[in-house]
C-alpha cells in the first residue's frame, strides 16, 4: 500500500496530523506527526501535504543501520537509532520530522490512518 497525495484537494485541516500523532505516540499533538502541511498564502493559496515518499535515502545514510524496509515502508528501529539526525539532513524531500520530545526522527510508516480521516481525497490509500 502507498499513500497517494492530491495536493489540490488539501484544505489544511490537519486531521491527518492529529491522527498520526495519536496513532504513533498516543498523544494529541500534531507537531509529533509524520505528515505536515505546507501552506503558501496569500499567494498562490496552496496547501501541500508533505510525507515520506519511501525513497530509501535515509536507510542508505543511517550510520547505525537503524532504518530498514519493512513491507512497503522504511521503519526506524528506536532501539538502534542514536537520533544523530543524519537521515533528517539527507532526506531529499524534507519529510523526516523532528520533535524535541520524540526519541527518533518521525517518518511515515504507511499505517494509513491519515487516509481514513481525510474527507477531501487529498490523501488516499492505493495499491
Amino acid at each position: 500500500m502507498k499513500i497517494k497525495v492530491a495536493k489540490e484537494n488539501c484544505t489544511g485541516c490537519k486531521l491527518c496530523m492529529q491522527v498520526c500523532a495519536i496513532q504513533h505516540y498516543d498523544e494529541i499533538n500534531p507537531k509529533k506527526a509524520a505528515i505536515h502541511i505546507d501552506a503558501e498564502f496569500p499567494d498562490p493559496g496552496v496547501y501541500t501535504p508533505k510525507l515520506c515518499v519511501q525513497c530509501g535515502k535515509c536507510m542508505e545514510a543511517c550510520p547505525v543501520d537503524a532504518i530498514s524496509l519493512v513491507g512497503d515502508a522504511y521503519i526506524i528501529d528506536p532501539e538502534t537509532c542514536t537520533d544523530c539526525g543524519i537521515c533528517v539532513e539527507v532526506c531529499p524531500f524534507d519529510v523526516m520530522f523532528v520533535h524535541a520530545d520524540a526519541p527518533t526522527p518521525i517518518m511515515c510508516d504507511l499505517c494509513m490512518k491519515c487516509t481514513e480521516v481525510c474527507n477531501t481525497g487529498a490523501l488516499t490509500a492505493v495499491e
Binding site: 484544505t11 485541516c13 486531521l15 492529529q18 477531501t120
Partner: protein, 638 residues
C-alpha cells in the same frame, strides 16, 4: 488538568510584566473556555466606568475545552473585552489554527492589561514569552502583516493581527488570522489597537493531556465516518456559507440596499455557485474540520490589482454585497479583501457602508463629504474610497467609524430609522420583517445584533412566520445553545448542519477531561453566562434595560416593498409582546432586569447584590420564575 493547556498568562503591556498562573480546574469546569472565561473575567475585573479604549479595559484571548483536541472542528478561540461599539460585554471568536496552537504552547487564557508605550506584538514560542516591538509593523494591513510575520518568524507560527482601522479605533475593527479568519464583531480589534498591540504570534509544540484517548479517538472516528456521507456534506464543502445566498433571497430575508428590501435583484451574480464558478482558488478548513466551509478566492477587476481573499462568506456577501447593492462576485470579494486588510469587520463594515449609501441617495451625505467621490449602490470604487476614509477616520469616515448608531446620532435627520443595529452593533445579513424571532434575537442579544448569538430564521418558519407567539421561549433556548459552542470552542456547523448532537460533543468533553459533565450542566452554564453579561451591561449602562432592547424603525414599521416577503413587517405591538414574553420566560422583570431568584439559581448571588446596589435588580416574581427557561427546538438546516 486534562483537556487544557494548564496555564493562564497575564501580560501588563505598560510595565512589560508577565505573570503565569496554573489554570484552576474549578474555573475551567464552571466556565468551559473562551466566552465563559471572558464573561467571568471581564465582569470581575473591569471597572464599570472604564473607557473601552482606555487603559482599564482588558483584552482577553482564550481557546476552549475542545480547542486543539481531536474533537470535531475544535478550532475556535475567543477574544473579549468591553466593546467600544456597545459599551457592554464583548466576545468574538474565530476559527483557523491560532487557538489550537495556543493550547499546544500550554495556555488557556491570555489577559492583556493596560497600554503599551510603543507599538508591540506578543511573541510566544512554547515557554518563551516576549513583548516585542512592532514599530516596523504599525500601519500595515492585516493580511500584509501576517505574510510579513510568517516570513520573519517562520511559517509554523500562527499569527493574529489588526489593521489600520484597529490602530485608529474604528469601533467595528476586527482581529484577523490565517489570511481571512476573523474575530470580527464587537470591535475587539479596536481594543487591541488601543493597547498598541499590533499582533500576536504563537508556536506551540506540546501535547494536550487527555483522560481517555481511545474513547475520544473512537468517538471522533465514528463521527467522521458517519458525517462523510451526510447529504449536506458535499454542498457545504463545495460552496460553504455562500450556498445560502439563494435560499435567503427565496425566503425574503436577504438584505438589499441597506435593508430597503429583502430580495436582491441580481443575487445570482453574487451567489455561492458564482463564487465556485468564477473566483474559487481552493477550499480552506479550520483546524480539525472536515467540512472545509472556507473558500479561498481571487478577484480580478479591470484597473485594480488581482487580490486573494478568504471568502466571501454568506455574511460578507449579504452585507458588503447585497446591502451595498453589488451584483458581481469579483466586486464582493474585492470589498471583502479591502475590509480584511484594513481591519474592518465585513459585517458591520458592509452594513455601515450600505447605511451611508442610503444617506447619499437621500442627500444626507454628499460628494463634499466624500472628498469629491460619489457613493453609488454597487460601485466598488465608491466602496473602496469610503472604507479607506473610515479606516483612516477622515472626514465622513470619522462619523461612520462609530458604526450606524453612532453615525446616525451624529448625522440626525431621521437616519436612526434605517440604521440596522441593536445596542450599537450592526445587524447580520438577515432582514427580520418576516422573521420576528430573529428580530427578538438581535434585540435581546448582549452584544447587539449578531446572528451567532442565536440564529432563529428556520425556527421562525417552523413556529409560524405570521405570529409573535411562541417565539420568546425558543429564542431563549437558542441563545443557550450558542454559548455551548462559544465556550467549548468547536464549530457549531457539525451540530447545525450534519446532525452531530450537542450530547455527542458533551461526551467528547468527558473523554477529554474525565469530568462527569452533562448537556444540562452545559446549558446552565450558558444561561449563567447570559445572565451575567446582561447584568454587566446594565451595571455599565444603567436602566431600565428595556430601553436598550430596541429594534430599528424600518424593521417594525416599514413594509417590505418587494420579493417573497412583500408587505411584511413585525409591528411595534408584536415586538413589545415578544419582549414581555421573553423577559418573563427568562425570569427577568418587565424592565428586562434579572431577578435575584434566577441569579441565585444560576450561582450568581453576588451579581444580584451588585445589581441591587445600583437599583437594577429585577422585581421579584410573585409565583416564582419559570422552572424551565427556554423551550427546546432544534431548527432544521436551511
Amino acid at each position: 488538568m486534562n483537556g487544557f493547556g494548564g496555564t493562564i498568562l497575564r501580560i501588563n503591556l505598560e510595565t512589560g510584566e508577565i505573570k503565569r498562573t496554573p489554570t484552576p480546574e474549578k474555573f475551567a469546569r464552571e466556565w468551559m473556555g473562551a466566552r465563559g472565561f471572558v464573561a467571568k473575567t471581564i465582569y470581575d475585573e473591569v471597572p464599570r466606568d472604564a473607557d473601552p479604549l482606555g487603559p482599564e479595559n482588558i483584552l482577553i484571548m482564550a481557546p476552549g475545552v475542545l480547542t486543539g483536541t481531536f474533537a470535531p472542528a475544535g478550532s475556535k478561540i475567543g477574544f473579549g473585552c468591553i466593546s467600544p461599539a456597545t459599551n457592554g460585554h464583548a466576545d468574538s471568536n474565530m476559527g483557523g489554527h491560532l487557538g489550537a496552537e495556543m493550547k499546544y504552547a500550554g495556555y488557556d487564557m491570555v489577559v492583556f492589561e493596560r497600554i503599551s508605550p510603543e507599538p508591540a506584538y506578543l511573541y510566544i514560542d512554547d515557554d518563551t514569552i516576549e513583548i516585542r516591538s512592532a514599530g516596523d509593523y504599525w500601519g500595515m494591513g492585516s493580511l500584509d502583516l501576517e505574510k510579513r510575520m510568517k516570513d520573519d518568524l517562520g511559517e509554523d507560527f500562527q499569527i493574529a493581527t489588526i489593521g489600520p482601522a484597529g490602530e485608529n479605533g474604528v469601533v467595528y475593527s476586527c482581529i484577523t488570522h490565517d489570511f481571512g479568519r476573523q474575530a470580527g464583531r464587537c470591535g475587539v480589534g479596536a481594543v487591541m489597537g488601543s493597547k498598541k498591540l499590533k499582533a500576536i504570534a504563537i508556536r506551540g509544540t506540546k501535547s494536550i493531556p487527555v483522560h481517555d484517548l481511545p474513547a475520544l479517538t473512537k468517538s471522533t472516528y465514528d463521527i467522521i465516518q458517519r458525517t462523510k456521507t451526510h447529504p449536506l456534506m458535499e454542498p457545504w464543502q463545495k460552496y460553504g456559507t455562500a450556498l445560502f445566498v439563494g435560499w435567503s433571497n427565496e425566503h425574503g430575508c436577504f438584505p438589499s440596499r441597506n435593508f430597503q428590501t429583502t430580495y436582491h435583484e441580481g443575487w445570482e451574480g453574487i451567489s455561492g455557485e458564482k463564487l465556485a464558478e468564477e473566483i474559487l482558488v481552493t477550499h480552506k478548513a479550520c483546524f480539525g474540520c472536515w467540512i472545509n466551509c472556507g473558500k479561498y478566492s481571487r478577484a480580478r477587476i479591470p484597473g485594480k490589482p488581482d487580490i486573494y481573499v478568504e471568502g466571501p462568506e454568506y455574511e460578507t456577501i449579504a452585507l458588503c454585497g447585497g446591502s451595498c447593492g453589488m451584483t458581481n462576485i469579483h466586486d464582493v470579494a474585492y470589498a471583502n479583501y479591502l475590509c480584511d486588510n484594513l481591519g474592518l469587520d465585513t459585517m458591520s463594515g458592509g452594513n455601515t457602508v450600505g447605511f451611508a449609501m442610503e444617506c447619499y441617495e437621500k442627500g444626507i451625505i454628499t460628494k463634499d463629504d466624500l472628498e469629491g467621490h460619489e457613493l453609488r449602490w454597487g460601485n466598488i470604487d465608491d466602496f473602496e474610497n469610503l472604507v479607506r476614509m473610515i479606516a483612516d477616520r477622515r472626514g465622513i469616515g470619522e462619523v461612520l467609524s462609530y458604526g450606524t448608531k453612532g453615525a446616525a446620532e451624529r448625522l440626525g435627520r431621521g437616519t436612526l430609522a434605517f440604521a440596522h443595529q441593536a445596542k450599537g452593533m450592526e445587524f447580520s445579513g438577515y432582514d427580520t420583517r418576516w422573521y420576528s424571532a430573529q428580530l427578538l434575537s438581535y434585540c435581546t442579544s448582549d452584544i447587539g445584533a449578531h446572528h451567532n448569538r442565536s440564529w432563529a430564521i428556520t425556527a421562525d418558519i417552523e413556529i409560524g412566520q405570521d405570529t409573535p407567539e411562541g417565539k420568546a421561549e425558543v429564542v431563549i433556548y437558542l441563545q443557550h445553545i450558542r454559548p455551548l459552542f462559544d465556550t467549548w470552542c468547536c464549530c457549531r456547523l457539525f451540530w447545525g448542519e450534519v446532525d452531530v448532537t450537542a450530547e455527542e460533543h458533551v461526551d467528547t468533553i468527558g473523554y477529554l477531561t474525565g469530568w462527569d459533565v452533562t448537556f444540562e450542566e452545559c446549558m446552565q452554564i450558558s444561561e449563567k453566562i447570559w445572565n451575567l453579561t446582561r447584568s454587566h451591561y446594565l451595571e455599565r449602562n444603567g436602566g431600565p434595560g428595556r430601553q436598550f432592547d430596541v429594534a430599528p424603525a424600518r424593521q417594525l414599521e416599514e413594509k417590505v416593498p418587494s420579493g417573497p416577503a412583500k408587505g411584511q413587517r413585525v409591528g411595534v405591538e408584536n415586538f413589545e409582546f415578544m419582549l414581555d414574553d421573553y423577559y418573563h420566560n427568562r425570569g427577568w422583570d418587565k424592565n428586562g432586569h434579572p431577578t435575584r431568584e434566577v441569579l441565585e439559581i444560576l450561582g450568581l448571588p453576588h451579581v444580584a447584590d451588585n445589581l441591587e446596589k445600583v437599583g437594577l435588580l429585577g422585581e421579584p416574581f410573585v409565583d416564582g420564575v419559570p422552572k424551565v427557561r427556554g423551550k427546546r427546538l432544534k431548527p432544521k438546516a436551511m
